[in-house]
Symmetry: C2
């Protein structure tokens, strides 16, 4: 039953996380991997962070990446292949794509602090108490389910307009008094808190594309109280009167008993 | 409305994360902070990871730590004070204690990959899809709410006996076929997967105190289906017949509309 960790196979790919601070933030073990690489794959922004002492061939990711990935890796088979990832490779990152493609045993991952870890460090927020919502390639409405008084959210922004969109959603959902802060370029030399205001008062300019919106949820006086369990008040829905009423909805969901992901 | 980040005040405390791999895994920016410190506080195990070039006075944490903390920090006021933390200081760590005590502006935190980040790297699991449950100083029964088919859990162990306790809880809850792996000393030179089996077949010896139990949830055939919403089947409760029935329970909770933390 005891299993020693199997060494990664010869043809494994190593994924190395690198932060906005670049080479100074890369620990020695990861530096050694990057110096010994024959080929380094990564986004152009990540590849530009490597110093000249990393003499590997640099292959920038094409766009779209997914369909090209198997061919790109195969073209360099038999060489020491390293993939540069932004922040933690297993947190909304390329690590998951690669392990899905090659299997976990063929991918070695060297973690790095994520942008969320940097945000928690900056804000003094405990990671275990924070809800994280990514709106990258996902609908902004995902935030709605996380809105409850006194909760803290970190929203991974999808572009310069995300903070204004988050503020508008908060106002529409009765959370206009919530405090928003835009944290840009977390962990890097250009890190800054670019804007800070309530959702009600929000008129900040567009953000740096690399940002997180930190939200401290406050419900507006008189806004409907929406719990985290089925059976929301009927007023929470846009309807024409043809609505299954609150308590039958709660009972139906109890009977269906959905599990997470269902 | 635009706010540049305020520099940390003169009397700030800096918290530096360090992993099981010790000094080789500490990036240069964190090393510089540790070399420049007058006093370094930390657990004896963390302090032992520092090389001789860190000439600061080393102050091991007493036990219990909380009541002694304000006095210890005050005794070294006016000197450059650094706190060594295990892994990510803001993830179930000392960072939260210090920011609660001194305020977030008086604490500067340099993050480090957490044991959970290392576990995800090793397993090829995406962090955003994993439920993390700490049983350190918390009841083991907290795991029960996270048991749903095909979910992946990382349980932060509270001691050598945690894996056997987790296996027993899984069996009792109808999740005996779940696959368990014990990941010890994550990120360090003594990292290993010490045990691997289903909860049903579990008879592994005690684990290293520093471990995570990775669980792939599988429900036993015939075990009751418990969803993630109120209104569990009446059979899910130990009762003598004097039980508010399933659907009134669901309706009552819909009316109460509890939010997270309530």
């Amino acid at each position: 039953m005891t299993a020693a960790p199997a060494p990664a196979p010869q043809d494994a790919v190593t994924v190395v996380g690198i932060g906005a601070e670049g080479w100074p933030g890369v620990p020695e073990a990861s530096r050694a991997v990057l110096r010994a690489a024959d080929v380094v794959f990564g986004g152009p922004r990540q590849l530009d962070l490597l110093p000249p002492e990393c003499a590997a061939v640099r292959v920038p990711w094409p766009s779209p990446l997914r369909p090209a990935l198997p061919g790109l890796l195969a073209a360099h088979d038999g060489r020491t292949r390293v993939v540069l990832a932004s922040g933690d490779p297993m947190f909304y990152g390329i690590g998951r794509t690669l392990t899905a493609l090659l299997g976990p045993d063929a991918v070695r991952v060297l973690p790095h602090p994520s942008s969320v870890a940097h945000a928690c460090a900056r804000l003094g927020w405990a990671r275990e108490d924070v809800d994280v919502v990514s709106v990258v390639g996902r609908p902004l409405a995902r935030i709605a389910a996380a809105l409850h008084p006194r909760r803290r959210l970190l929203v991974l922004g999808a572009g310069p307009g995300t903070p204004a969109e988050v503020a508008a959603l908060l106002r529409a959902r009765g959370f206009g008094p919530s405090r928003l802060r835009v944290l840009e370029q977390l962990g890097g030399p250009r890190e800054r808190t670019s804007s800070e205001a309530t959702a009600d008062a929000w008129d900040a300019p567009d953000a740096d594309p690399l940002h997180i919106v930190a939200v401290e949820c406050r419900r507006a006086p008189g806004a409907p109280r929406l719990g985290a369990v089925p059976g929301l008040p009927d007023e929470a829905y846009a309807h024409d009167g043809q609505l299954t009423k609150r308590y039958p909805r709660a009972v139906t969901l109890a009977a269906l008993a959905p599990a997470p992901g269902e």
